[in-house]
Structures are given as C-alpha cells and as structure tokens.
C-alpha cells in the first residue's frame, strides 16, 4: 500500500509539473490570467507530493518491506536503522527520487517566497523549472521506478555496500544533491530572464540568494565527501581526481564563478550575458555529473547500476536541456543590452579575471574527466590522474589566488593601484618571506611550495578589506566574503602541508613491537577478533604516543561484512591541533607479524576546516542578503500603507 501511495504521488507530481509548464507558458501572453494564477499553487503542491513520495520510500526502507524490489536489492533486516534509512538513497532509483524531490521542493520554494522578479519572468522561470523537472519525472517513472514490487516477496534483502554504511554517507548525498539540484533554480532563472529579456540588477539580486544556498550545500557536500574518502577508503588520500569527485567539483567551480558575476551584475549592472551563461552552465555541469555517475559509463562506488538504457535516457535529457538552453542563449544573448563599463583597475575587472580563470579550470577538469571516455571510443584505454590535473590546474589557480587577494581591495568602476599599495606590499612580503624561508629550510615540490606561501599571503590579504572600516557598520555579506576567502587560505595551507610534510611508514610488526612515524611511536599490543551488528573484524590494539608523551589506545580494524560479503579496512585516527596520525592494519605477514601502514599528516584537518569556513562565509552572506531583502520589503509595504492612508 505504501509503495502504491508513493508511486501515485509521483505520477500526480509529474502531472502538476505538466500543468505548471503550460501555465507558465500561457502566462507569457496577455489575457491568460486564470491559467497563470495556477503556476504558483501547482509548483507548491508538486513539491509537497514529491516530498510525500520520498517519505513513502523512507518508510518502506525503515520497515524493510521485502516485497519491494528496491528494498530487497539494497537493504537487509539486520542493518542498523540509520543505515536502513540512508540505504533509501544509496542506490540508483532512490537517489534519482531524492534528486527530483529536491528539485520539486526548490520549485515550490521559489513559488512560495520569490516576489522580486517581474511577474512574466517569474512565470517563465516556473515554466522552465517544470520543463526540466518533467524530464526527470519521466526518467524515474519509465526507467527507474523505485516502487516496483517483486512478484514474490524476497526472504531477505541483499544488503547495502558496506563502504556506504557510514555516518558520513547518511548526510553526504542529500547535502550534495541540495547543492546540485539547487542550481536548477539558477538555470530556470537564466532561461526565464532570456525568454523575457529581463536581465537587470534586480534579477541578479533575486537570483543571488538561491545560488548562494546551493553553493553552500555544494561546498559542504564536497568537504564531507572528501573527508569520507579520506578516512573510510583507508588510502590516506583526500582527493583522487576520481571522475565522481570531478563531477561535484565542476558545478562548484561554475557556481563560484556565477556567485561572483551575479555580484557584479547586482552592484554595477555589468556582465549581463556572462551571468546568464554561467547560470546555464552551472546546472548543466550538475546534469553532466549525474550522467557520468549514473549512466554506468564510469565504474565507481557511486555508479550503482550499469544499464545502457538509462545512460541513453539521461544523455537525451542532457542534450535537450543543455542544447536548448545554449541555443536560446545564442539567439537571445545579442539582444541583451550591454551593461555598464569599467576600467582595468576596478573590482569588476578583478572579478572578470577570476571568472575567466574559474572557467578555464572548469574546462581543464571537464576535459580531463571526459578524455578517457573519448579515447575509449577509439579502443585506447587511458586513465587521467594527478600528473595531469595538478600542474595544469595550478597554471590557472595560482594567478586566480593572486587576483583573489587583490580584488576585494579595489573599488567598483575605477580605482588606482597606488591607493592599495600598502596592503598589496604587506601580502606580497608575507608570501615571499614564507617562500624563501621554506625553500631554505626544506626541500619540497614546487606546487606545495607555491601553495604554502600563497596561503599566508592570501590569509593576510583576506582581512585587508576590513582595514579602515567601521567593523560594526560592515554589512554581513562583507564578513561572509572575508571568512570564505580566509577559508580558501586555510584549506590551501592544509593541502600544501599534507602534500609536502606527510610521513609514511609501512612495516610488519610483531605483537609487542613498535614502529615510528614522524614524531609518533606506535606499539602493537594485541590483535583480537571483534564483531558488530552485521560484520566481524580483526582489531589491532595500538598504543600510540606523540613525541614520547602519554600513550593512548587506537583500534584500526579489518572488517568482514557478511551481507553483502565484503572486506573493508577501518582506519583509526588521532587528531591533534597540528595534524593527524592515521593507522591502518593489514594482513598477517605469515610469520606472526602484522602489516601496519601509518601516516603522520601535519595540519591535514585544516583542509576540511577551511571548507567549513568557506561554507560559513556563504551562510553569513546569505543571512545578510535575506535580512536586507526583508528590510526593503517592509519599507516598501510601509510606504505603500502610508500612501494609501494619505489617499
């Protein structure tokens, strides 16, 4: 019954999306007011129905209803409840339902709260949102029905991939999806504005909070995903340039560029066409990512199902939406009037420069991700990894970081370099001082060296915009910018330290013996069997001490899951303010010795703290923008009330 309710709600939601599309389209003509009035309620009810449908799926998984195919394939009655629930979106069908739910809820939210856009643009936006939604409803209903029943209920479920049975994976997919799909709003706004040719600063101000919201979730999702890969996969790395990681990085790069160009449009009425273009590109990157991950073209822990039919379906959707939007852009961009001008030394120019750099980095990541697919068509198998991404990316990242340090100091429209000479000299001195100091004292690679020194310069420069301002009067959005830019510096410092100063020890250790890694001494005192709800494990008891200090115990495990049968390594971590000890236990070497792999990673945690700071900066900016918006609204309505009283 629950499954049928969920499916019915999904069909109804799809029907409402169709209604919303028609209403939005007819609202573009005069004299269709009755139809136009339907668009907003349709969007809101559609959102509620999709959410209801997703709730039904959660209930099915919570109860482990084995008559439903998806539950039988992906769940197991012995799993802890939290992983039963997260199992609902730890598979292809469930994750696509989550996707469409987030998309419908985003549409409902626009319909419910957005009042800034001109009515016709608003209707076109809702229509576009419904048009994109319809494709994904069709995909779900025709090729990936999550509510399909089995002819005979299964006796027991097949279980969830143990790698996905982790608390990080409970939050990672929904967070990332809110980010991915939240960008659909920017896409619909861009299409709506192109259709009605209303590309104005007001449009940018209306769009900005939506982009900020999606961007915050993307940032958090990427940060969480990176930390998950770091501790769960047991390889000690935090970024692998895996196509799936790239699939989340590309929308983030586009959204970051969009965020900044929307600021230029909002403040200065420049970069109109460029902002629209980025709005289209950002969500297109989300869809390309979904295609890469979900089509089975790539094999990874994220590619749940290898089904060419689904791949073709997503590819068709992709070409309709991206191709259609780009075509519309090509036809209309010329008619979008040109914005205001600005000089080479102005904040606009710095933002333009970094927009171009971000786009170049995006292009490099995209080419590197797609290249293996292209060569495979010619039967040549290649893989593209860090030797490509790191140096080629750095060519554009380094100038971007330098301009990022300077840009916020510049004034809009026109400024002179002489005015900001002092802060520039301070930041440059810090950068060069660190550069020479590190070069003299240690022998590290060119990229970590650049990263390390730039992180100092950028950290100092990120606070410079506060110089000479009354801190209490400063808008929240400016605080947000300072915090986010500082977060980039923090994260960069962590990355550079990790790659420059990590130490690794690989040893076979007898019980009672110890190994050294960096300042740590690690003694193996025991290896014992242990068990959890759906696994058994061998657990090493390690007594670790930092620099001869008081020893403490950590217990890395090698786990054996029995549904589905699979081994995983569970790393054990010790976090200090200045870094992390990372320990993995391997197999018995055959003569009573156990393999231990140990890393000392100085300041590695700053990578993720930086990510959190960046997201918090976004939150501050978002709160600032929303408060401003509310203030404006209440001023407007008070003004209207006064006029009414006078009349």
């Amino acid at each position: 019954m629950i499954a049928e309710l969920g499916l019915a709600a999904l069909w109804l939601a799809a029907a409402l999306a169709a209604l919303q599309l028609v209403a939005g389209a007819f609202a573009q003509r005069d004299g269709a007011a009755e139809l136009a009035a339907l668009a907003r309620p349709a969007a809101i009810i559609q959102g509620l129905l999709a959410a209801f449908s997703f709730l039904m799926l959660l209930i099915l998984f919570a109860r482990t209803d084995l008559s439903v195919k998806l539950v039988a394939m992906n769940s197991h009655s012995a799993k802890p409840m939290i992983f039963k629930l997260s199992g609902a979106f730890g598979n292809h069908e469930g994750s696509m339902l989550l996707w469409i739910t987030v998309m419908a809820l985003a549409g409902a939210l626009i319909a419910a709260v957005e009042r800034r856009l001109p009515e016709r643009t608003m209707m076109a936006t809702l229509g576009a949102q419904a048009f994109v939604g319809l494709g994904f409803y069709a995909f779900l209903l025709f090729s990936s029905n999550p509510f399909e029943r089995l002819p005979e209920p299964a006796l027991e479920g097949m279980g969830l991939n143990p790698l996905l049975q982790d608390i990080g994976l409970v939050f990672h997919p929904p967070t990332l999806y809110v980010g991915y799909v939240g960008l659909s709003v920017a896409f619909s706004f861009a299409v709506g504005a192109l259709l009605t040719r209303q590309v104005t600063p007001d449009f940018a101000r209306a769009m900005r909070p939506w982009v900020l919201g999606a961007w915050i979730f993307l940032t958090l999702g990427i940060t969480a995903g990176s930390y998950w890969a770091y501790y769960e996969l047991g390889w000690g790395g935090w970024w692998f340039w895996d196509p799936v990681e790239n699939a989340s990085l590309m929308p983030w790069l586009a959204a970051t560029a969009l965020l900044h160009s929307a600021s230029v449009l909002a403040a200065r009425d420049a970069l109109r066409a460029w902002t629209i273009m980025l709005g289209v590109v950002a969500f297109s990157m989300s869809m390309v990512g979904t295609f890469l991950v979900r089509s089975g073209i790539l094999t990874s822990v994220h590619a749940f199902a290898v089904d060419p039919e689904r791949g073709t379906f997503i590819l068709i959707l992709l070409s309709i939406y991206i191709g259609g939007a780009l075509l519309l852009f090509g036809l209309r961009a010329g008619t979008v009037a040109e914005g205001e001008r600005f000089s080479v030394t102005s904040r606009e120019a710095a933002l333009v420069f970094n927009n171009v750099m971000l786009s170049a980095i995006l292009g490099i990541v995209l080419l590197g991700t797609l290249y293996p697919l292209v060569t495979e068509a010619f039967d040549v198998r290649v893989s593209v990894g860090p030797p490509y991404f790191n140096p080629v990316g750095a060519i554009f990242v380094v100038p971007m970081l330098i301009v990022m340090a300077v840009g916020p100091l510049l004034r809009w429209r026109q400024d002179s370099v002489a005015r900001i000479r002092l802060p520039m000299v301070i930041a440059a001195t810090a950068t060069l001082a660190v550069l020479f100091l590190v070069m003299l004292t240690s022998d590290i690679g060119i990229l970590p060296l650049l990263g390390l020194s730039l992180s100092f310069g950028l950290a100092i420069a990120s606070f410079m915009p506060l110089r000479g301002r009354k801190l209490r009067m400063l808008p929240l959005a400016t605080w947000g910018m300072v915090m986010a830019h500082f977060g980039i510096a923090v994260s960069l410092f962590g990355m550079a330290c990790e790659s420059a100063f990590s130490e690794e020890t690989l040893a076979a250790v007898e019980i009672g013996d110890s190994a050294e890694v960096g300042p740590w001494s690690v003694a193996l005192s025991e290896v014992r069997p242990t068990a959890g709800p759906n696994w058994t494990a061998l657990e090493g008891r390690l007594m670790v001490s930092y620099d001869g200090g008081k020893p403490r115990e950590i217990d890395p495990q090698s786990r054996n899951f029995w549904a589905p049968p699979q081994e995983t390594t569970e790393s054990a971590l010790v976090t200090r303010w200045n870094g992390q000890l990372y320990a993995v236990i391997g197999r018995e070497a055959g003569d009573g010795r156990w393999q231990l792999r140990l890393w000392w990673k100085p300041f590695v945690t700053l990578i993720w703290y930086g990510g959190v700071l960046i997201a918090l900066g976004g939150v501050l900016a978002l709160i600032g923008r929303l408060l401003n918006d509310l203030k404006r609204r209440s001023v407007k309505s008070r003004g209207a009330a006064r006029r009414e009283a006078q009349a």
Binding site: N161, W274, T299, V356, V382, F396, Q595
Partner: protein, 155 residues
C-alpha cells in the same frame, strides 16, 4: 584604458580575452593529456611493446595461482600478472586491497623498471560486484570467451 573605449568595444575586448584564455586552457589541457594520461596495458602488450621505464602506466590481468610471495620484510609482495599468454612480474609494497586473491583480476598502477619488473604504487582489485575496475570487467568477459574457445578447440 578600457574606459576610453566605446561600450561596444569593451564587450568585444572582454569576449576576446575570455576566448583567448579558454582556448589557451584547452590547448594546454590537450597537450598535457597526451603526455600525462597513463595508458592501460595487458601483459601481452607489455611484452611486445613495453612502455619506457619510469613512465606511469596501468597493467591489468589475472593474479597467477601460486605466484604470490611475501618478502622477508613482511610488507613487500611479488606476484605474476598474466593474460593467458604472457606473465609480467609485479612488485608491490603496502597493504593489499581487500579482495585481492590469487586467480582473480587486478589493475596495478605504477611503472616498469629497467629489469622488466612492474613496480606498483597502487593495486585496484574488485571491491564487490558493483565496483569492478572497468578494465577488469571487460577482461573477465574476454577471458571467459577465451576459455570457452579453448575448451571447444580441445573437444
């Protein structure tokens, strides 16, 4: 500088700068991809046309039964990777991936050394039925066909 230009010209200048930067990035990426992509070899290819020693490549094949040995340091292992015709010796120092067993498929990332031993930095084995390195997927299929062909020829 740009302030002196007409409005129409500024847009043009911006478009040109952006295009130059993006095309530059594209060309850079294309040339880097050609040099930095690591190619996939099966043992037969590696024997016939070996990559330059020190060049990062990937080697895929089956871990030969009985070839897995642990060195006296307890952490270095050696084994043979074969594709039915040729075998290549592989050396790896580290913790073996979870589902690494003799007789099953593996993709080794690393370099060929001067003596013809493949020194692996990383081993990718089958994680579970949903996560098989792509090369392995096709290879097991290919090998199945080969085995079928051999038995048929023998009969």
């Amino acid at each position: 500088m740009m302030g002196g230009l007409k409005a129409k010209h500024q847009r043009l200048v911006l478009v040109v700068i952006a295009l130059v930067a993006l095309i530059g990035a594209g060309l850079l990426a294309a040339s880097a991809l050609r040099n930095q992509a690591s190619y996939f070899y099966v043992p037969t290819q590696m024997a016939e046309d070996p990559p330059a020693p020190g060049q990062a490549v990937r080697l895929g094949g089956m871990v030969q039964e009985g070839s897995l040995k642990t060195m006296s340091d307890g952490i270095t292992i050696t084994f043979l990777v074969g594709d039915g015709d040729v075998t290549v010796p592989v050396r790896f120092a580290g913790i073996l991936p979870d589902l690494f067993v003799e007789g099953s498929g593996v993709v080794a990332e690393g370099k060929l050394d001067a003596s013809g031993t493949f020194v692996a930095d990383n081993l990718l084995a089958k994680h579970d039925e949903n996560y098989v390195p792509r090369e392995l997927q096709d290879m097991t299929e290919h090998q199945k066909n080969q085995v079928v062909a051999e038995t048929e020829a023998g009969a």
